[in-house]
Amino acid sequence: MFVLFCPHCGEKREEEEFGYGGEAFIPRPATPEALDDEAWGDYLFMRKNPKGWHWEMWSHNTGCRKFFVVKRNTATNAIAGSWTLAEGRKAYDAEGGST
């Protein structure tokens, strides 16, 4: 029951307005057929699931219906920020593409 800032609507909104969109920045392999089963399995199933900071996607279901990026601490629900997908990618890369 936290509050998220929607970077598109420009407002903080209650969690009830959003839907969880899973871990962010798991790009779909460009050529799936070139991957062996293990690499494809990693893409399908392996997630970081950290206790601590987590880059994830949320979708503003009742509002703009846009997916966006949130950096959230899974242990405390502290939120470091939220960004559009493109801006979030930059912020994520600026941190070295990890937590």
């Binding site: 029951m1 936290f2 509050v3 209650e14 839907g19 969109g21 790009p27 779909r28 050529t31 799936p32 057929e33 991957l35 089963d37 494809w40 399995g41 399908l44 996607m57 979708s59 279901n61 219906r65 846009k66 997916f67 405390t76 629900n77 997908l85």
Partner: protein, 1015 residues
């Protein structure tokens, strides 16, 4: 007026408003302003409960949510509420209360026999005794009778509840002196403030000590002017009878407001909810939740008439009830002294036994002047009395160590109050992950005053360990100023004179368990947790049995469970455990404080999510037409869809038989409006469809439709539906009824996250289009009657075509698609015209005996054709190949569509896949149960190898026999193509204790060549 009543000046009961009420069937009187507890005490009631485990007599101990014993069943019938604390029930005229414990009677409790043998019921009794699971059910019945508390109402709740979502700059929890001052400062600064107090009026402890002095005036006068000013400030809202029971992430305070419970049932306003749940999102939260006095642990400390010392004071000063004539007070600190003086001045004979040898001289002088007999260095070894306290045996304590060094006097009394210090109400602070700090000087777990200021949470007053009134007020002023400046505000320079008349405090003695000179477990039972009958000896035993973590000790002994959640017992329990473990209290720590602070009714949590607003019920635009024709309805996701249309005397089977035959041989009509519909447009729309569907869309021409399978990335079918090409860059997709929202989000996610460059936009038009499916050999004739501008001839309007035209005078899109295998037309119009067009089709079809049908018939018709229902015949583990639908997969598409790569995964590509087949029972009249297990042999002796299960099963009126769809391991290879029974195609379906012989066949039972839909 009973002899326990004292007309105290400043008391908050109205002696001019007498009330009557009943307890356990007997009539009593009280006054407006009483709680049920104060009124019972005024009537001399002592024992009103039996304890949980030992059946020991119990009475009232506290004055509020900390009360462990006085759990009441309030009112009867539909209005009955179990387990309310008598200390929190406001008295009203005619209130009906009953005890909740004592079986078979309060006077004779069966468990008390067990109490005689109580050494056989140690901590962990149930775990140790009922290891034999087979015996447990027999005992459970008896134990529940004996141990149970109140009864849940058996009738529906006649009252309503609602929720209110609020946003405030400052929420202050607790309307005592500190909370009021914080509210005044924040309110004067112009902030949007909400002040919550769980009692019927603000004041907190000031209501129990109205003669204290604040800034030269009596506390009662200060209180009155503070409340008056708050009420005059438009930016401040004061909610009384409102208990903040949870503090969640980002300063979300949940509070329940009691709107009606204090009123006689007949006077309750029908249009007002009984309770309201406030969900308040606050920029800043001020916890001014105060503290609860904890009793000392001594022998027989549970005898009725033994209370916290502060409770005795509160009953006297706030409610005008002197609980006893001869009162013994036992303390380790200064807090009881004012109450001792008040009780003595009210005419009670008061002995004050202080465990300390060095006591506060100023307080000593004041209480002696009031006539209190002060004894220092004494502890209570044990209390006397069984159903009411009659006295106590004192012992001389060592000045430093908590050991007995000599005997003491025996004191007679009819009420006994003890104080082991104050335990701050830290609960809310901890709900959100905060941990209280142990303050060794104040002997309390406290909230740090800056709280978690970074998150906007502050503590003021007793919750921070500032137990003195003046210190608390000065601290509150300082902290509130900090809070205001964090919001860019400042308070006026002075809050006025906050000086009080308290003497400086003298340190309290660090004592929790008063020693009786005997080894723990050998003296009189000394209770730590009253509601769960946890004694000091039980905690010792748990440690002896090697429980080390306080969380484990809690669960083994039941310390701190129950409706009071250990508000009196926890700190004593932690301290005793620490002593036995040889650790410090902070090393032992606390158990976890979780919401709710005090019990909340289910009704309140549900709010308006009840009755016809429990869940969204979605209706098609033709709903009124279905109701008028007497349809029975069934929920499909959130939708309510016609299930079948019974005619007089028909049951489900008769109606479905008639409806099926009409659709197969004449004409039927079904409301398909609930199907999800998504409009897609853009020059890349075909490429987008190629990626999200298994099949290919590059060639589909405008005016044509195609069935599509949508897969997840695992290659499993997640949705299906027909998609139509409207124009070269414009498509209309349909989805399953239940999958519409999921598919829409799915498509948006792929477009937004992976393929934003594709020129395509999608918009849900599910609700825009009303859809009537006209189905059957005569459907063309029906449609022709009300549609003149579409050439309906078979050569001009082919199967899987769609046309734009006018139906019943309304612009329409007509799709020649079929979910039944029959000639069928799906008519789509603006939903505002849905009802009109439905009725026009019914009129046009009258001469053909057009028959409306519901979802049950739809299911039979599609199962006869082997058409799947995603989510019924599939379960997220079925690929198109498992469904024998390779024809719907475009493996040659250049882009690796979603799910394609997974076809090659070893598990997906390997043998032993469960595959969709048809099943025919040997006995054509047996309709298998859906979910029946498919097995190889009739012998079901475990372990029977399970090959799969029946997913759909119906009686087919067209075939005059039963049919079933099933998923079966290697099912496709097992299918008998020509009906001969080779052995491999013979299996058994087991359900309801019987194994039925079945033949594995193709899932297409009717018209296998598909001729009928092409006529």
């Amino acid at each position: 007026m009973s002899s326990y009543r004292v007309r105290r000046p400043g008391a908050r009961v109205d002696f001019d408003k007498p009330l009557t009420f009943s307890f356990d069937g007997q009539a009593y009187d009280g006054f407006a302003g009483d709680t049920l507890a104060s009124a019972l005490l005024a009537n001399g009631t002592r024992m009103l409960a039996r304890s949980f485990k030992y059946g020991r007599p119990r009475g009232i101990i506290g004055t509020g949510p900390e009360e462990p014993n006085a759990l009441m069943q309030i009112e009867t019938g539909a209005h009955t509420i179990p387990n309310l604390k008598a200390t929190q029930v406001e008295l009203y005229d005619g209130l009906v209360a009953r005890r909740t414990t004592g079986w078979p009677t309060l006077e004779f409790d069966l468990k008390s026999l067990g109490g005689l043998f109580s050494r056989f019921m140690p901590a962990g009794f149930y775990y140790k005794t009922f290891q034999n699971q087979k015996l447990w059910p027999k005992f459970e019945h008896i134990i529940r009778q004996a141990a149970g508390y109140g009864s849940a109402p058996s009738e529906p709740d006649p009252e309503t509840y609602d929720h209110s979502h609020r946003h405030a700059q400052v929420v202050i929890v607790g309307g005592g002196a500190s909370g009021l001052l914080a509210a005044l400062l924040a309110g004067r600064a112009g902030l949007k403030v909400v002040l919550l107090d769980e009692q019927n009026e603000c004041g907190g402890w000031l209501l129990s000590s109205p003669h204290s002095v604040i800034g030269g005036e009596q506390a009662s006068a200060w209180l009155k002017s503070a409340v008056g000013e708050l009420q005059s400030l438009p930016n401040v809202q004061v909610l009384t009878r409102t208990s903040a029971f949870a503090l969640h992430d980002m300063n979300l305070v949940l509070a329940v407001e009691q709107l009606q419970d204090h009123l006689p049932i007949a006077d309750r306003a029908a249009h007002q909810p009984r309770q309201r749940l406030h969900r308040i999102r606050a920029e800043r939260v001020v916890l001014a939740t105060g503290a609860i006095e904890r009793p000392l642990v001594f022998g027989n400390n549970d005898v009725p008439g033994i209370m916290t010392a502060s409770a005795l004071t509160t009953y006297l000063n706030r409610y005008g009830v002197a609980v006893g004539k001869r009162i013994l007070l036992q303390t380790s600190n200064d807090h009881v002294y004012q109450g001792a003086a008040d009780l003595a001045r009210a005419g009670c004979e008061v002995v004050l036994a202080d465990t300390r040898t060095r006591i506060n001289p100023a307080w000593e002088k004041r209480v002696r002047a009031a006539g209190v007999d002060v004894r220092t260095g004494f502890g209570i070894a044990y209390a006397r009395g069984r159903r009411a306290v009659t006295g106590a045996q004192l012992v001389k304590l060592d000045a430093q160590r908590n050991v007995v060094v000599g005997s003491g006097p025996s004191i007679d009394c009819d009420a006994l109050g003890s104080s082991g210090g104050l335990s701050p109400t830290v609960h809310l602070y901890c709900h959100d992950g905060g941990r209280p700090h142990w303050d060794e000087e104040r002997l309390a777990f406290v909230v740090p005053e800056a709280g978690r200021a970074k998150s906007g949470i502050y503590g003021v007053g007793a919750v921070t360990g500032e137990f003195g009134l003046q210190n608390a007020l000065e601290q509150t002023e300082r902290i509130t100023r900090e809070l205001l400046s964090s919001l860019g505000k400042s308070a006026p320079t002075s809050s006025g004179n906050l000086k009080t008349d308290e003497p400086d405090a003298t340190p309290a003695r660090r004592i929790f368990r008063v020693p009786d000179g005997r080894a723990e477990g050998h003296g009189k039972k000394a209770f730590v947790d009253f509601q769960n009958d946890v004694s000091a000896a039980d905690i010792h035993l748990a440690v002896r049995e090697n429980y080390r973590s306080i969380e484990h000790i809690k669960r083994y002994t039941a310390l701190g469970f129950g409706t009071d959640q250990g508000k009196l017992s926890n700190v004593n329990g932690f301290a005793i455990a620490a002593d036995v473990l040889g650790k410090s209290i902070p090393e032992v720590g606390t158990t976890t404080y979780r919401p709710a602070y005090s019990p909340v009714t289910f009704g309140t949590l549900a709010g308006a999510h009840a009755g016809d607003t429990f869940e969204p019920r979605r209706y098609s635009p033709m709903q009124a037409a279905h109701v008028a024709r007497g349809a029975e309805f069934e929920p499909v996701g959130q939708w309510l869809r016609p299930w079948y249309f019974p005619q007089t005397g028909e049951d489900l089977h008769a109606a479905v038989r008639r409806e099926c035959l009409a659709a197969r041989r004449g004409v039927g009509i079904m409301d398909a409006s609930t199907l999800g519909k998504i409009d897609l447009r853009g020059k890349d729309v075909r490429e987008f469809l190629n990626r999200v569907y298994a099949n290919a869309w590059t060639q589909l021409a405008p005016g044509k439709c195609r069935y599509g399978l949508m897969l997840d990335e695992n290659g499993m079918v997640m949705d299906d539906g027909v998609t139509a090409c409207v124009a070269d860059n414009h498509f209309l997709m349909t989805t399953t009824t239940g999958g519409a929202a999921r598919v829409m989000t799915w498509l948006e996610k792929w477009h937004q996250t992976e393929w934003p460059d594709l020129d395509v936009y999608m918009t849900s038009v599910t609700d825009h289009w009303a859809t009537a499916a006209v189905v059957g050999p005569k459907s063309r004739q029906v449609l022709a009657k009300i549609c003149s501008d579409i050439d309906l001839s078979p050569s001009a309007f082919k199967f899987m075509d769609w046309r734009e035209g006018t139906v019943a005078g309304v612009p329409a899109r007509v799709f020649r698609i079929s979910f039944s295998g029959e000639l069928a037309f799906e008519v789509n119009v603006d939903a505002n015209y849905g009802h009109h067009v439905w009725e026009a089709l019914m009129d046009g079809g009258r001469e053909f005996d057009i028959t409306p049908y519901g979802t049950e018939t739809m299911h039979v018709l599609r199962a006869e054709k082997g058409f799947i229902i995603v989510g019924q015949d599939t379960d997220g583990s079925m690929t198109p190949l498992d469904l024998d639908m390779a024809w719907a997969v475009g493996m040659k598409k250049p882009f690796s569509f979603i799910g394609k790569r997974s076809f090659a995964r070893s598990d997906t590509a390997g043998p032993n896949r469960k595959q969709l087949v048809g099943l025919l029972t040997d006995d054509p009249q047996i309709v298998l149960a859906e979910g029946a297990q498919v097995i190889e042999r009739a012998d079901v002796t475990p372990p029977a190898a399970m090959l799969g299960h029946v997913t759909s099963s119906y009686y087919s009126p067209e075939l005059g026999r039963s049919i079933a769809l099933a998923v079966v391991r290697d099912g496709i290879a097992r299918r008998s193509e020509d009906g001969h029974k080779s052995g491999r195609d013979l299996l058994y379906a087991y359900a309801g204790g019987k194994a039925h012989k079945v033949t594995v066949v193709s899932p297409v039972f009717v018209d296998p060549k598909g001729d009928r839909q092409n006529v």
